[in-house]
Structure formats: structure tokens, C-alpha cells
Amino acid sequence: MKILELHHLKKYYSTQKAVDDISFSIEQGSVFGLLGPNGAGKTTLLRMITGIFYPDSGEIIFEGKKFDVTKDIFRIGYMPEERGLYKKMKIGEQALYLARLKGLSRSEAISKIKEWFIKFEMQSWWNKKVEDLSKGMSQKLQFVTTVLHQPKLLILDEPFSGLDPVNSNLIKEEIFKMSKSGTTVIFSTHRMEQVEEICDHIVLMNKGKKILDGSVKQIKQDCKENHFRIGFHELPADVTSNAFELVGRQENDLIVKINDGFTPSSVLENFLKQKASIISFNEILPTLNEIFIKKVEDTAISRQFQEVT
């Protein structure tokens, strides 16, 4: 079942087409990655999904029905990139306030907060003020306040920035747990290694447009360049053939690009004929990082202002 469908969303500012005709859908319970360089329009898109902005045109379908901000807002948890807390407010009261704004009753909110504070070992924080917390600690608190109301759709914009690896992992674990119990997670980030690790499905945006959409596996297959790594005991004398082009050489490894019309078998055949002793033979799939850079590099690095008609 699809939890969220976007149909031809558009949002234009006076100098920019921030989101220009974007459509995609997200499966319930999946971990979805929304990627893109700075200024691609991710935040604007997320603000429309969370009801902060209204789209200029297009449609958002949430759980099969037209998105209704006043009701659906309770089923969404959003941790924006520009996030913060009231510095002078006590931590327990702050969590309680934010939870009640998300529609929890007082007693519900308190029991949920206690539960999460125990989970994250934050019990002693209740009467402290936010200004006493380190950046990483307040980040943890921010995460807790985002998920207190058990949202069906959890939207996290750069959730790991400022967190050490231990706390990063702690939060990652929780995200996985929530995803297993049916929560859909939208992830917005530039950190590709995390995306590869966490996300099932990604969309890459640039200049307000969608340029990639698919599962991580599928996208890697689609973007691969037929590169293979062959490991030898001893490099063969003749490394040229019309079946492939030599791309690189590392000690006793060759990296080759197989030409159109040939297969890995024909490459191997070529070396076996020379009686070369082959140790390994692997396909090299591009990393998301490489795909990201390649796709984005085609366009100007920073967004130019454009005429909006």
C-alpha cells in the first residue's frame, strides 16, 4: 500500500522554481531517501508534505485520501534541518509541550516521554534546561520529541548531523525498529553512505526536478558502466583486446570496461587463452556517491536564479 503519493507538485518562488513538477510515491513501511544537492528543493518539498506550505499546483495523497493538514498533521513526525528547542525551558516540560501540540493527552504524553527517556538513558534530564545540553544531547532530545506521538510517517532532514557514531547508531537502530513496526521513514540527506545502508528506495532531485527514482539496487544496476575488476597472480603480457578497454591497473588487478556486444565470459576467455592465472573476477557497481556526483555534475553546481513565467 502506498502511504504517500505526490502528483505533479509545483511550488514557485519569485526568483526560483523551487519544486517543478515532482511526482513519486512511497510504500508504507519503507525507508525512503530524498537526495539532492544544496538548493535542490528538498526542504520546500518536505514543507509541502508536512503542510507548512501549500503547493502552487499538484496533489498530495496521504493514506489514500487527499492530504488534510489539520487531521493528518498528527500522523506525521517532522524533524526539520533547521531545528531547535526553547533554550530556557525545562527538558521534561518541553517534551510534554511538543507532544501535546501533536495531539497527545497529558497522561499519554508523560508515559511516552518516560518510556523514551529510559530508552535513551535521559531520565535525569527532566528538570534540566536545554541550554545545559551539548549539541549531540539536544539532537537526541529533538529526535525523541519528533517520534513521541508514534507517527505513521516520519520525516527526518539530516538526522545524524552533529551526532557521534555511538548516538548515530542508537538513533539508526530506533529508526529500523520503527520501520519494522510499520512506520514509513523519509530521509533527506547528503550523506550517501548512510543512504546506501538505510534506504530501500530513493529519489534524487536537482534544480526542483526529479532526476532519479527507484530502489537502491535498481539504480545501481541502471547506472553501472560495465566495469569489472580482475585479479591475477601475475599480470598477463597482453592486456589489450577488442572485448574490453583497460580503465585502470592496481598492482596485480586490472579494471576493465567491457565493450558493447561482449560479455564477461568473452573477457575471461581472452585471458584464459593466455594461460593467465586469475584469482578473482568482480563486477564493480557504482556507489551512490558516484552516481550522485555524476548526475548532479551535469548541471551547474549552484543553482542560478531563473525567470519564472
Binding site: S14, R47, T50, G51, I52, Y54, V69, I73, I76, Y78, M79, P80, E82, R83, G84, L85, Y86, K87, K88, M89, Y97, L98, R100, L101, K102, Q142, T145
Partner: protein, 437 residues
């Protein structure tokens, strides 16, 4: 509605629990009352005995400058402006030999300012001495002259200003009306700035802490803005009520001392010297106490509350809008606030004039237009001369005015609160105003 209530509650509780709130609430009236008490005290006590050496070679003033318990005149000829201090005199009054009023001047020499009250007294004495001299020169009997001088004219009649309303008379006290009007106007003016700035700082805080977007993903921006405005209004009303209780309590406490002390003092002073200067303050307090009751409190208090709240609501959303577009730079806030502070300051200037003359056309119009009505109208009401239609029109337009400013400000607020790092011009803001949804 439930969410606005949560926001109001948070806004109210965090502010009321704050130490600065408690301190300012208690200290301000104490400071105010202390100030009045101190100035009354000093004006009564500050007069040291002053001895003035009079050099009057021709004896024009001999026995005509009357000493009292504050200023004593001594007629000597061996004192001059070099040695008066050494001989123990506060000042030296020199009347030139063969005094000719057209060419000569009487000089009063002292090593420091003797104060305008003392100076006035000395002049009064010189005036009456010269007048007496003139009467005597026209052959008026000295006894007759003395008996006329001793008349206390103030006590020979009863002055009663009356305002004719319909077919009944109301006692008028323009001094009291001026005082109440001016006081209310100034109080609304100050609180507009205090609480308006509090709204602006609150919005700026939310924007700079980056919590605005977190909150706005749970509530509509309009709810957040309105919650803050109402929460701070509740804080203001709480503070006002505490002040009223404190002032009434403290002043009734003070009046125990004032009546006892001041009546005696005032009478003493009155008995011993002619009316002038410092005792009039105590008398004024006594007079005010009796006429205080005569003011039309049933009209003034509800009107004050209405204009206090209405004026705040009119400007608070504008302050919120300014807070929402400011980035880290406080200087920016200053320049963006200018279009808001200008009409408030202008209203204050009009108010000072309107308290003295409540019926000039500019006072009437300024008390109807919602930009200035909250400050100016309160200056006019205590005089009792505001027709009902003006009051009604002013109130209706203030309510319509704050609904309009809130709606317009909400449009700026909604966009501004999420906009970081960019300096917003007035032109852009006006564009936001006319954008739909």
C-alpha cells in the same frame, strides 16, 4: 482551539515564572511610590534656614521685608559681597544707595544657587515692600493698609466649577481629569512598547532558536502567532492587576502617614507664612484625595481596560510581523520597527495636548483613528466631554483595526518566520501581503 490554548499556557507560564517578571512587577510600583514619597519629603524638608544680609543704606525696606522661619533678613552695613559668607550669611542682598527703580538693580549674591522657591519668596517680599511704600506715599493710612494685607482672600469665597450636562450639574475638576487622562495615556503608551517589544522578542527567539519550524509542523503559523500575542496579553493584564492591588494597598498605607503628618505640616506652614511654593504639594494631595472620589470611575476603568487591551492587540501583531522577518542583526529590528514606533510616538505627542485640551479637532480625530485612539482617547475620557458617538466609533474602529492588522501581519509572519539569512525589504513584505493562501 485546543492548540492555541496550549500555546497561550506555555507563553504565560514561562513568562510569569520568570524572575525578571516577579522583580519588575514588585519593584516598579515600589519605585514609583518611593519616588513620589521621596520628592514630597524633600520638597517639605529641604528648606534649610537661610539668613540674608540686607544692605539697605537708605532704609527703603527697613522692617518691610518680613522674616519667617525659613528666611531671616538682617539689616547690616558692614557686610559686602566679599565677606558675607565669612560672617555666616547665606546670601547678600544689596540695595544701591539712592535706589532708583529705573536705573539701578537690586542684586542678590550667594555662593550657590539658593533655589527658586527662596528666590521667589524674596522677590515677593520686595514686591510687597515696594507696593506698601507706594501706598504710604499716596497717604494711605498704615493701619488700613496692614488690615487689608492681613486679609486671607482665598478663604473669603467658595469656587465651584460646574459642567452642565442635560439638566443636571456635575462638579468639574479639570486638574484631576488632566491627571487621570495624562496618566492613563502614558501608561498605555509605555505598556504598548513593553509588551509589543516582548512579542517581537518572543517571535525572534523562536525564529533564531530554529524551533519555529518544529512548532509549525504541528500548528498553523497563525495559531502560533495568536497564542503568543494572547499569552503575553494575559501576562500584561496580570501585571497590571498586581500593580493596581499594590498601589491601592501601598497608598492606603501611605495615606495613614500622609494625612497625619501632612495635615499638621501643611497647617503649620500655612499659619507661619504666606502661601507659596512647597506646601502646595501637600495641600494638593489633600485636595486630590477628596476629589479623587468624584471622578467618573465607572466609565474610566472599563474604558481604560478596553483601550489597554485594544491598543495592545492592534500593535502586537505588527510587532510579531517585524520579529518574524528579522535575522540575527538587532539593528535590522530597529529600522523595521520604525513604521510601528512612529505612530505610537506621534499618538503620545497628540495625547499630551489632548489631555489639556480634549476637544480640539486633532484630539477628536486622533481618538477615533485606531492607530492613535488607544492612547489619545484615554486622555479625553476623564474630562467627561466625549460624546457617545465618538466613543462608539472609536471602539468599533479599534476592534476592526486590530482584526485587520492581525490578518495582514499573519501573512508576513507566516513567510518571514521560515526565512533565514535574507534581509527582507518592505517591498517584499508588501508582496507577501497580497499573495493568496
Amino acid at each position: 482551539m485546543g492548540k492555541i490554548w496550549l500555546i497561550i499556557k506555555r507563553e504565560y507560564l514561562t513568562r510569569v515564572r520568570n524572575k525578571t517578571f516577579i522583580l519588575s512587577t514588585i519593584l516598579l510600583p515600589l519605585f514609583f511610590i518611593g519616588f513620589i514619597a521621596a520628592s514630597t519629603y524633600f520638597s517639605m524638608k529641604s528648606q534649610d534656614k537661610q539668613t540674608i544680609a540686607v544692605n539697605d543704606a537708605n532704609g527703603i525696606f527697613k522692617n518691610n521685608l518680613r522674616s519667617d522661619d525659613i528666611i531671616r533678613y538682617e539689616y547690616t552695613s558692614d557686610v559686602n559681597m566679599e565677606n558675607f559668607k565669612l560672617k555666616g550669611y547665606t546670601a547678600f542682598l544689596n540695595i544701591p544707595k539712592n535706589f532708583d527703580s529705573r536705573n539701578d538693580s537690586i542684586s542678590l549674591v550667594s555662593d550657590k544657587n539658593i533655589g527658586f522657591v527662596a528666590e521667589d519668596k524674596i522677590k515677593d517680599q520686595i514686591n510687597s515692600a515696594l507696593r506698601n511704600k507706594a501706598f504710604l506715599e499716596k497717604n494711605i493710612n498704615k493701619k488700613v493698609l496692614d488690615s487689608i494685607n492681613d486679609l486671607d482672600v482665598e478663604k473669603m469665597y467658595n469656587f465651584r466649577p460646574v459642567i452642565r450636562k442635560g439638566n443636571r450639574n456635575e462638579q468639574s475638576n479639570s486638574g484631576l481629569a488632566y491627571g487621570i487622562g495624562f496618566g492613563s495615556g502614558i501608561l498605555i503608551y509605555i505598556t504598548l512598547f513593553i509588551y509589543g517589544a516582548a512579542v517581537m522578542r518572543g517571535v525572534m527567539e523562536e525564529k533564531m532558536n530554529r524551533i519555529a519550524e518544529v512548532i509549525i509542523s504541528s500548528v498553523r503559523p497563525f495559531q502560533l502567532m495568536l497564542g503568543k500575542i494572547i499569552g503575553i496579553a494575559a501576562v500584561g493584564i496580570t501585571q497590571l492587576l498586581i500593580w493596581i492591588v499594590l498601589i491601592i494597598g501601598l497608598s492606603s498605607l501611605a495615606s495613614v502617614f500622609v494625612t497625619h503628618d501632612a495635615i499638621q505640616q501643611a497647617q503649620n506652614i500655612n499659619n507661619t507664612m504666606n502661601a507659596a511654593g512647597n506646601e502646595s504639594m501637600a495641600l494638593n494631595i489633600l485636595n486630590a484625595k477628596s476629589t479623587f472620589v468624584q471622578a467618573n470611575w465607572a466609565l474610566i476603568i472599563p474604558c481604560f481596560l478596553f483601550y489597554f487591551i485594544g491598543g495592545y492587540l492592534f500593535y502586537a501583531s505588527l510587532f510579531a510581523a517585524v520579529g518574524s522577518v528579522v535575522n540575527e542583526d538587532p539593528q535590522e529590528a530597529q529600522s523595521l520597527m520604525l513604521p510601528i514606533t512612529m505612530p505610537i510616538v506621534l499618538s503620545f505627542i497628540i495625547m499630551t495636548a489632548a489631555a489639556a485640551k480634549p476637544d480640539t479637532p486633532i484630539a477628536i480625530w486622533a481618538s477615533i483613528i485606531p492607530f492613535s485612539s488607544s492612547i489619545v482617547m484615554m486622555a479625553r475620557i476623564p474630562s467627561g466631554g466625549v460624546p457617545l458617538w465618538q466613543l462608539a466609533l472609536s471602539m468599533v474602529s479599534l476592534v476592526a483595526g486590530f482584526i485587520l492588522t492581525t490578518m495582514l501581519a499573519a501573512k508576513i509572519y507566516r513567510t518571514g518566520i521560515l526565512l533565514y539569512g535574507k534581509k527582507v525589504t518592505f517591498r517584499e513584505m508588501s508582496k507577501w501581503l497580497f499573495r493568496k493562501s
